[in-house]
């Protein structure tokens, strides 16, 4: 008996709460253009607050997530996304860390192979001081 009532209550509450969750998720994906290491969700800058308000207006107007992000990218460039899209121009950005890690690992492996054997693999004399 409780089950269906609970489900109904949850469904009724889903409206504004789901909107909030969606807004926060989108806000975390957009960079504050003033404090550029923070998302507009985290930044205290006045422009970030205005960007959050503009985002909510676009949600209310029925824009999809992709349309909302596109609105900001068209005006501020890819830099406004916290995670830059994978495109021809950003492939180097995305690949570089893994690439350098791979090169470093390879070089370390080569170095290990080239080391001379350690002397204490050989039997040592019992030293009488």
């Amino acid at each position: 008996m409780i089950g269906p009532i609970l489900a109904l209550a949850l469904a009724a509450a889903a409206g504004p709460a789901a909107d909030d969750a969606r807004a926060i998720a989108l806000q975390k994906e957009l960079r504050c253009v003033v404090c550029q290491n923070e998302s507009i969700n985290d930044s205290a800058a006045p422009l970030a607050a205005d960007m959050r308000a503009a985002l909510r207006e676009r949600m209310a107007a029925g824009d999809s997530d992709a349309e909302i992000k596109a609105y900001f990218v068209e005006r501020y460039g890819d830099f406004v996304l916290m995670r830059p899209p994978l495109k021809a121009t950003t492939v180097a950005l995305w690949a570089a860390p893994g690439l350098f890690l791979g090169i470093g690992a390879l070089m370390f492996a080569l170095y290990l192979r080239q080391r001379p054997p350690l002397d204490d693999d050989q039997p040592t004399d019992e030293a009488g001081a």
Partner: protein, 177 residues
Amino acid sequence: MKPVHALPLIVVALVAIAFAFGLRNDPRRLPATLVNEPLPAFSLEPLYEGEAPFTNATLAGAPALINIFGSWCAACIIEHPVLMSIAAENRVALYGVDWNDAREDGAAFLAERGNPYRAIGMDPDSRFAIAMGVSGAPETFVVDAQGRIRYKYVGPITKEVWNDLLKPMIAQLEPAQ
């Protein structure tokens, strides 16, 4: 030196070259992605009550400079005398957008220093600034006679920037039709 020993040097050299290009980009200057796009449709309350709203129609099919400023903006104080002389030269219409400001603060700012603008719109909630990709003040947009954004200058305009960059650019624009 064995070839493999040259590898770190080569990698460092490549990275240095990449950085030499990449570090020239100022991360505070976001790309002017709206260049050659038409101005967004806008209608801003005038700073001075009783005047007409500042809209696309105010530009009346002539080239224009739209300068984003605010009474809170220190660099705008530095820029202001140059704007006054640009207005005095009267080669191009100069319009202002008072961003993130209360009416009395914007009006006081201009009363103290002079008003170089033909018209001034208010943008208290940054809707116009966001639509124009503005991230700080001052920023100045060069708009052609067809209402297209042709250039965005970020930071205070100096005499050199006006004489060497913006004035020639405006002279190149197609005349009003």
